[in-house]
């Protein structure tokens, strides 16, 4: 086991990008030892606007935007725009071509019938990508190549988001009046019993409107966006295989964020047990690390712990990934919030919303129904760390 861990550590950064071995485990970077990097500590207050900007002392960080949109015919669309930063060494070197900061971005467009995605990489220090104060103002500028999220204000909103995914040219204006939601314990978001944690805050109530232009055709869209900001030096424990994460906009105006970090050993045990019992091995109800936030219509935040959330996968299906390889994913879920007396069923708008990027994962638009099978909202779901079928 020791050898395996050592090898994994040795290979971590190759796994980071190598598309050949992604199927194995690209998420190792999130589990890597945080020696030398800044540590995430409980009780450290988040400070704005400072914390909107990069934290190069920490190994990884992201600016994660998802949006559920409707066109004029009422059809569901979705957007994803994410900027990742990684420090390759604990002594961050920020300037010039020698910089050890690596930027990566993912973007996706979910149209009513098809999902498109793109990824970008850039080294830091050369202005090809970064998150900075907007030149000559107090504003905010996050970009990689020609993908850009910009705000004249250091509160990040109102702002504009412009990027393209293949032929889709995306241009949106984003607004919010709401306060930031500090997840976990005032922004300290614990990820495992061993102490892995991140700083995590969100803005779940962003309204946006804009256009997606494809081959001369312009579609006007509007809806709700959700921004997650998170940084850490070791977000996953060694035995955490991946996670299932949900950000939901409910029709009554309340918002729900839920995630579970699946424990490798537990999953395996349960798989063994289930296969013995002749049950589907893809139904994960393991004793994972579960956490969430409930934001009611007034903006009041309730932290949800393990006992407050019953997360269960209802059914798993196969979808195609890169090179037509198949993967089985738990695509339908039920979320029960006993303390809040809510029961929700989550289903994807359609199954094929896989991002075959260097870090491959499922991320896409989901529709939310209640016990009566009535539509109660929509949102985004993210499923990571599942094994590709051979």
């Amino acid at each position: 086991m020791k050898i395996v861990v050592t090898l994994l550590l040795l290979f971590w950064s190759s796994l980071f990008f190598s598309q050949l071995v992604v199927a194995q485990d690209v998420f190792q970077v999130l589990r890597d030892n945080d020696v030398g990097y800044a540590e995430v500590k409980r009780g450290v207050p988040l400070i704005f606007p400072q914390d909107h900007f990069p934290h190069p002392d920490y190994r990884i960080e992201w600016w994660y935007m998802t949006a559920n949109l409707k066109d004029q015919q009422g059809q569901d669309w979705g957007l994803q725009w994410t900027l990742f930063r990684q420090s390759l060494s604990p002594d961050a070197n920020l300037e010039g071509w020698d910089s050890d900061q690596i930027w990566m971005a993912h973007a996706a467009v979910t149209t009513p019938d098809k999902h498109f995605f793109a990824q970008r990489f850039s080294r830091g220090g050369i202005d090809q990508a970064g998150v900075n104060q907007l030149t000559g103002s107090n504003g905010f500028d996050a970009w990689i190549d020609d993908w850009r999220w910009q705000s004249a204000s250091d509160t990040l909103f109102p702002s504009t988001l412009e990027f393209n995914v293949g032929e889709h040219k995306v241009s949106f204006e984003l607004k919010t009046q709401d306060n930031w939601v500090l997840n976990g314990d005032d922004g300290f978001s614990q990820k495992s019993a061993q102490g892995q944690a991140s700083y995590y805050y969100s803005q779940p109530n962003i309204t946006l409107k804009g256009t997606i232009k494809t081959q001369g055709k312009t579609t006007r869209l509007s809806g709700n966006a959700w921004l997650d900001r998170e940084w850490s030096s070791q977000a996953l424990a060694q035995n955490q295989k991946g996670w299932d994460w949900f950000s939901l906009h409910l029709n009554d105006g309340s918002k729900l964020m839920v995630y579970q970090l699946r424990h490798d050993a537990e999953n395996k045990l349960e798989d063994d047990f289930r296969s013995k019992e002749g049950l589907s091995t893809n139904e994960f109800t393991a004793e994972s690390w579960i956490s969430g936030s409930w934001i009611d219509t007034t903006g009041e935040v309730t932290h949800l712990g393990k006992d407050d959330i019953k997360l269960r996968s209802i059914s798993a299906r196969q979808i195609k990934t890169k090179k037509s390889r198949l993967i089985t994913l738990p695509l339908d879920w039920s979320i029960n919030l006993p303390t809040l007396n809510r029961s929700l069923t989550i289903k994807p708008l359609y199954d094929q919303q896989w991002l075959a990027t260097s870090f491959p994962y499922w991320e896409g638009v989901v529709l939310v129904t209640d016990d009566m099978n009535q539509s109660v909202g929509n949102g985004y779901m993210e499923l990571t760390g599942y094994q590709l079928a051979n």
Binding site: S13, S14, S18, Q19, L20, F121, I126, Q128, D145
Partner: protein
């Protein structure tokens, strides 16, 4: 029945495995050398076709600074931020190892490159690199192709030491597409290595019309978007070199066929009886012919497979030298890994079959046509030998006439090589007649009472048929050796003489920055006497296309020491100085390189038009200068003229002449110069001394001709094999005869003399013929082919020493093969004697 005939025919090879071996050896050697070059040529073509890609990413355009001054990082980033992701910044440069070897470096942003690569290429390229992010992180990695790593004895992680004491990043030994002999690295490492903060150029992939317009509008005035024509230019520029190689490979193939011919002759000799018996048994000629054709087919298949395998090996062995030549001459990069094309295999089979039909099937058919019983008569055989000799001599006449006609009209390298081929084959076919004449002459010279002497000479008639083709092969190999050797020697001498004139400054500074200008201005300021600087020459230039070929227009200081001694090959006026004076005093005159004359068709005194910023300007050509080693067109105008006509000219370096060292013990001029350089921010990598640049140039020259030398030696080896094969055949063939001699009381020494003397006579005749033929060959190569192919003219330098050396070498080969065959004879003679006893 057919099977039985075939079995009967082929059984010969079981009884005489040596013959099968030599047949195979001849085929393998011939096909091997031919296919080696074929594979290499094809491989090079494929590489040229990929010349517009970098690590599998297309480079359809380049963004270059109009003044070749490099591109600012900010300009690149701006284009990226405008959404151009198909662009990659490149730094190219060269470093020098402590032993004076030049190594080319190419660097780009590997992180940006990787994400734009097609998926398959990513997998191929980064496969096996356990942690590819280390490529873009300190201390970075230098991707060294295996072959270069072997040359410098580098293992994974080693850092190559440079002449100026610096080190390259740790080596990652792995070759990439289009890498050739270059070392790849991340651009960040190259910034440090070349101490620069600018890119040399930016490669641009495919652009839509919209993108093209947008990109052009975004570029600052100083930058230009240029179409990448490298693929086209390379194919055209390198054509001659590949023709040269093909010609040499065909020669090797021919020499290989001589071995086959020889083996066939022997196998025929042994199969006379079989053939005769088969005919007597009532087998039809038709059935025998199909059996012979089948045998030919089998041999062609075996020969092709073994030849191509051998060719791949030779190809891999020759490739490093060739890729170096191509890179030095044309800047072309060739992949390190050779792949075999099915066309090459088919073509190899085709020529093997044709060659075999000529060398194996045809003589066998002739044998068949003879009367069944007569075919075995010694008298008839002697007559047949005489008539075939005469036939060959007769055949050589039309070849000579064709060669003469071709000589009059020759305009391309292909025609030139056809001429050489005709001439060589005419000479080869005349050789048997010459050998016969030689024997007759020797016969006449030997006094009648010297019985052994007469026997020695007249035994030559028995040896003649066996040695005929081996001697032809030897003649071809010796001629090629002498001819090509003279070409290389003449070229070397002309090149070195030219270097002495062209590169006679003490130091060359490559710095294109303003530091050198400032330094010169301060050293040459009015009223100041420099302690070290005697004279300087700063050149500028522009790159343009003339007759759609890449062309350089240089601006030179017409009064600089090297300009005053410009080595002209042709000039207007009485002396070169007259022409140079015209060029110096009048900006309407231009100097052109010989390539423009020979390849571009430019005439002395002709007026040419060059596109300048102010529109087309006319210049009159006053002289053609020698420009060895340069495949491109080049003009020289005055510095002022180029500066005036082209706004975006670039620096072509500065030559400096130092003052002679004073007798006192102070620092030498060189030391003072170097101190001033460093003080003015000119790096050690930016200047090179005369000695260094000459060593480097000569190194490049030697390496360029290394492949020629290798091909030459290989051809000679093939000829040596032919000789050994013939000797062994003779020994085998005449074993009963030798046994009889022994029985008659002839001792070993006498026997040795009898066998050796005619052979020595033959070899001396072949050698004597090879000398004038070699001279003609080298004259044609130098005065005709070189000019037609490269546009370089040079005086032919004929020396007898190489001919003597070659003679000595051939003698050694003859002695070694003789000893080998005599050993064989000694081993087998007792058996033959016993056989003789049984027979009698």
């Amino acid at each position: 029945m057919k099977q039985a005939i075939l079995k009967a025919l082929l059984s010969h090879y079981w009884r005489h495995p040596w013959q099968a071996l030599f047949l195979l050896l001849g085929l393998t050697a011939g096909v091997g050398l031919w296919s080696a070059v074929q594979i290499i040529n094809h491989h090079a073509e494929v590489s040229y076709a990929q010349a517009d890609s970098l690590l599998g990413v297309q480079a359809n355009y380049w963004i270059r600074n109009r003044s070749e001054q490099g591109i600012a990082q900010a300009d690149y980033i701006e284009l990226r931020r405008a959404g151009f992701r198909q662009i990659f910044p490149v730094i190219e440069g060269q470093v020098i190892t402590p032993d004076g070897q030049l190594i080319s470096i190419i660097a780009t942003d590997l992180l940006a490159l990787r994400q734009s690569m097609p998926e398959e290429t990513v997998d191929q390229t980064f496969n096996g690199i356990d942690n590819w992010l280390q490529l873009v992180q300190k201390p970075y990695r230098a991707w060294v192709p295996q072959q270069l790593a072997d040359e410098f004895a580098l293992i994974q992680g080693d850092q190559l030491q440079l002449r100026d004491g610096r080190q390259l990043p740790p080596a990652l030994i792995q070759a990439q597409t289009q890498q050739g002999r270059r070392i790849f690295m991340d651009i960040s490492a190259a910034f440090t290595l070349f101490d620069t903060d600018q890119f040399n150029y930016i490669t641009v992939g495919q652009l839509t019309t919209e993108q093209f317009d947008l990109l052009t509008s975004l570029l600052p005035d100083s930058l230009a978007l240029v179409q990448n024509q490298q693929q086209l230019d390379l194919s055209e520029l390198t054509q001659s070199l590949h023709t040269h190689l093909s010609a040499m490979s065909l020669l090797s193939f021919a020499v290989g066929l001589f071995i086959v011919f020889n083996a066939v002759r022997f196998s025929l000799w042994h199969r006379r009886e079989t053939l005769m018996n088969l005919r007597l048994m009532g087998v039809s000629v038709k059935a025998l012919i199909s059996a012979i054709l089948f045998e030919t087919l089998i041999w062609s298949l075996i020969g092709t497979v073994s030849g191509v395998i051998c060719g791949l090996t030779i190809g891999n062995w020759l490739l490093p030298g060739l890729s170096q030549s191509l890179f030095n001459l044309y800047g072309a990069t060739i992949d390190a890994v050779i792949a075999l094309q099915s066309e090459t295999l088919l073509l190899a089979w085709g020529i093997t079959l044709v060659g075999l039909l000529w060398a194996l099937a045809w003589p066998m058919y002739l044998q068949l046509k003879h009367d069944v019983l007569d075919a075995n008569s010694p008298t008839l055989r002697h007559q047949a030998e005489n008539s075939s000799r005469q036939q060959l001599a007769l055949f050589s006449l039309p070849l000579l006439i064709m060669a003469f006609i071709l000589f009059q009209t020759m305009e391309t390298a292909v025609a030139g090589f056809a001429l050489l081929g005709l001439l060589l084959f005419a000479a080869a076919w005349l050789l048997p007649t010459l050998l016969a004449l030689g024997l007759k002459f020797a016969q006449a010279c030997v006094p009648k009472q010297r019985l052994i002497g007469r026997w020695m000479v007249s035994d030559g008639w028995s040896q003649m048929p066996a040695f005929r083709s081996a001697m032809m092969a030897l003649l071809l190999a010796m001629t090629a050796n002498l001819g090509v050797g003279t070409l290389v020697d003449s070229f070397r001498s002309a090149f070195i003489g030219w270097l002495e004139v062209r590169q006679n400054a003490d130091i060359y500074v490559n710095s294109s920055q303003s530091n050198i200008v400032q330094l010169l201005e301060s050293e040459q300021a009015p009223g100041k006497t420099s302690l070290w600087l005697a004279d300087s020459h700063r050149q500028i230039g522009i790159t343009t296309r003339w007759q759609d070929q890449p062309t350089l227009v240089n601006g030179a200081d017409t009064r600089a020491p090297d300009s005053l001694r410009f080595p002209l090959a042709q000039w207007l006026g009485d002396t070169p100085d007259d022409a140079l004076a015209l060029w110096r005093d009048n900006s309407n005159y231009i100097l052109a390189n010989e390539q423009l004359h020979y390849l571009g068709g430019l005439k002395l005194g002709q007026t040419i038009q060059l596109d300048t910023d102010q529109g087309p300007v006319d210049y009159q050509v006053v002289g053609f200068f020698y420009d060895y080693g340069n495949p491109k067109f080049q003009f020289y105008l005055s510095y002022e003229e180029v500066a005036k006509r082209w706004k975006y000219h670039y620096s072509r370096g500065t030559a400096l002449w130092l003052k002679p060292d004073s007798t006192s013990n102070g620092p030498s001029s060189r030391q003072q110069a170097e101190k001033s350089f460093l003080a003015n921010g000119i790096n050690r990598a930016d200047w090179i001394s005369q000695d260094e640049i000459r060593t480097l140039s000569v190194n490049i020259f030697e390496r360029t001709f290394a492949i020629t030398a290798a091909m030459n030696s290989l051809t000679l080896i093939v000829a040596a094999i032919a000789l050994l094969a013939s000797l062994l055949a003779i020994m085998q063939e005449r074993l009963p005869e030798f046994a009889q001699w022994r029985a008659l009381g002839v001792n070993t020494r006498e026997q040795f003399l009898i066998i050796c003397s005619p052979l020595l006579i033959f070899v001396v005749i072949a050698w004597l013929l090879a000398i004038p033929l070699g001279a003609v060959l080298s004259w044609l190569l130098i005065q005709k082919l070189n000019i037609v192919s490269f546009g370089w003219s040079m005086p032919m330098l004929w020396k007898m020493a190489p001919a003597w050396q070659l003679g000595g070498l051939v003698l050694v080969i003859v002695i070694v093969t003789l000893l080998l065959s005599l050993l064989q004879l000694r081993r087998r003679l007792p058996d033959a004697l016993a056989e003789l006893g049984e027979l009698s």
